[in-house]
Symmetry: C2
Subunit: 327 residues, 2 copies
């Protein structure tokens, strides 16, 4: 298996040039997503908010950025046997789409209890789905078998410098559209988005601080960050399905160095914030994207009179099951 | 009661200048809403679609345009006793907000069975709610009493040239953003939006044809248009709650002269189209706004290889009751 490292630099993580190159590389294939504002939220909280709407991104989530950067960084030969990952979420769709654009197969290992909606979405983007038992061990061993059999290249959902550089381009665009942000908030699961956001702020707007937001009930990043020791996610039980994973060996050190704070929020706040955004801003966001909004509404962050960017990570949600409707 | 006529022209309907003046008048108070596209829909239907997103408008609907134009067209003296209307929908919110901006009261007659959500929204924008029995007779007689008592000026939701000129500004902006549209589609209820859209196309882009779209189960505009005789809406039974009203004495002749076609769609198509827009475009639209999308998906209009504008009229919907979820 080819090990994917950061491009032409000696850092264990993406350089400024890596992020600029990633943006150039993926621009033909992704949306330059809009930045929305909400006068209602601004006056409620006495601050100015700027929502970078990755829910409008291709495949409905920022994950299209990293996956596209990773796939299009590979040369023809490396691409000849396809790419592979295990994922039941947005990375699976992003990778399937990117592989399809590069005319190579994507092998996606998914737990057998994945929802039909998610399986259909991956297939719709051209991914080949391989089912496994719904345990991390089964996912990893099945992926290893698939790679052995197909010689496909593994594209990890977050612990990969090319993925991080790709995710960093959302904040890059936001900082370009809205100069002088005091803070950027992003949700944190495996840390691909948060570490990329932190690097973009560090390189392109050093006065902007980056804050991670996480569910109380999946607070491994918060625990790891405050103890400065890697603590994996155990039995995460949150509606924010994108944020159940643990940090990685590449994302964690970046977060330790470049993120100023991680705050956590309750499940109830996440649902309330999600509904607020749907009702008042008329956009669909998934529960993971409501986490930074919940942090604001819970008054967990000092934001008064500040310019605050929020990365709205995605908008993929099963419309038959909304958290505020009991069936 | 002061009769509100089209401004300084001898037409029974707004002139080109009236629409331009309306746009200038309301610009400080409304959003210049974005135009979104959908590659998915484009490739499904082999056409180019441009969604003018009035769901992102102040108060969540295009109605803010007309109401703001009507209120800000009145002089100080006329405004001194406030404005009044009967409405259980988006006009009530638009008029309440406009009156509040003009520092004058808005008296809103609402049927006693209006949902709490709608009543709360009107009060939230500063409207004073007067309840009545849920019949058209009661609405009209209660409004007459309110006007007698308060000396407020009635602002009809659609049969008023100032309202029509205000609603026309949505298409004005769309035609400015996307020159060379072949068709614009709009839903039709009382006809304020459709007649305004048709006038804007006629004045500013005469090669653009305007098509009205309506639910099968509230097809009074279709029947009136095809028979060229006013046929009122009887027992409309549609999920598109904004489209249950009948055409007016001012809107109907404009529609007859300047609209090229009216098509109708089933309830099932409306729900399907609404869900499609939510899922694929990640924006919240109300059932009335899904009607033109349904007309496209039902293949009711010849749109292949054409540039098609769609006025997304609003995004106000009770999130506790979605049409595809049976509780």
């Amino acid at each position: 298996m080819i090990k994917i490292m950061a491009e032409k630099n000696n850092l264990p993580y993406p350089s400024k040039e890596d992020i600029l190159k990633a943006h150039q590389r993926i621009t033909p294939y992704i949306h330059h997503t809009p930045v929305l504002t909400s006068k209602t939220l601004d006056s409620m909280m006495n601050a100015s908010f700027f929502f970078k709407c990755e829910n409008f991104q291709k495949t409905g989530a920022f994950k299209a950025r990293g996956a596209t950067n990773a796939v299009f960084s590979l040369d023809r030969e490396s691409l000849s046997f396809g790419v592979a990952t295990h994922s039941s979420g947005n990375h699976a769709q992003g990778l399937s789409r990117a592989a399809s654009l590069a005319h190579t197969p994507a092998y996606i290992v998914m737990p057998s209890n994945s929802s039909n909606v998610k399986v259909a979405a991956v297939k719709n983007y051209g991914g080949e789905v391989i089912f496994c038992e719904p345990t991390l061990e089964a996912r990893e061993s099945t992926l290893a078998e698939v790679i052995k059999k197909t010689k496909a290249i593994e594209i990890h959902p977050y612990n990969n410098p090319l993925i991080i550089a790709g995710q960093a381009t959302a904040a890059l665009e936001l900082l370009h559209s809205v100069p002088g942000l005091d803070i950027i908030l992003a949700p944190v699961g495996g840390g691909g988005l948060l570490s990329g956001t932190a690097l973009s702020a560090y390189y392109f707007s050093p006065d902007t601080s980056v804050i991670g937001t996480e569910p109380d009930q999946a607070n491994d990043a918060y625990l790891s960050f405050t103890s400065r020791t890697f603590i994996p996610s155990e039995h995460p039980d949150t509606i924010a399905d994108g944020l159940r994973t643990s940090l990685g060996s590449i994302t964690f050190p970046i977060i330790l160095s470049h993120v100023s704070q991680i705050v956590t929020v309750s499940e109830q706040s996440i649902i309330k914030a999600m509904r607020f955004v749907w009702e008042r801003m008329k956009i669909l966001i998934e529960p993971s994207s409501a986490v930074p909004v919940a942090a604001i509404m819970e008054d967990k962050i000092e934001i008064r009179k500040k310019k605050v960017g929020i990365i709205i990570s995605g908008g993929n949600i099963d419309l038959d099951h909304l958290p505020w409707i009991q069936i």
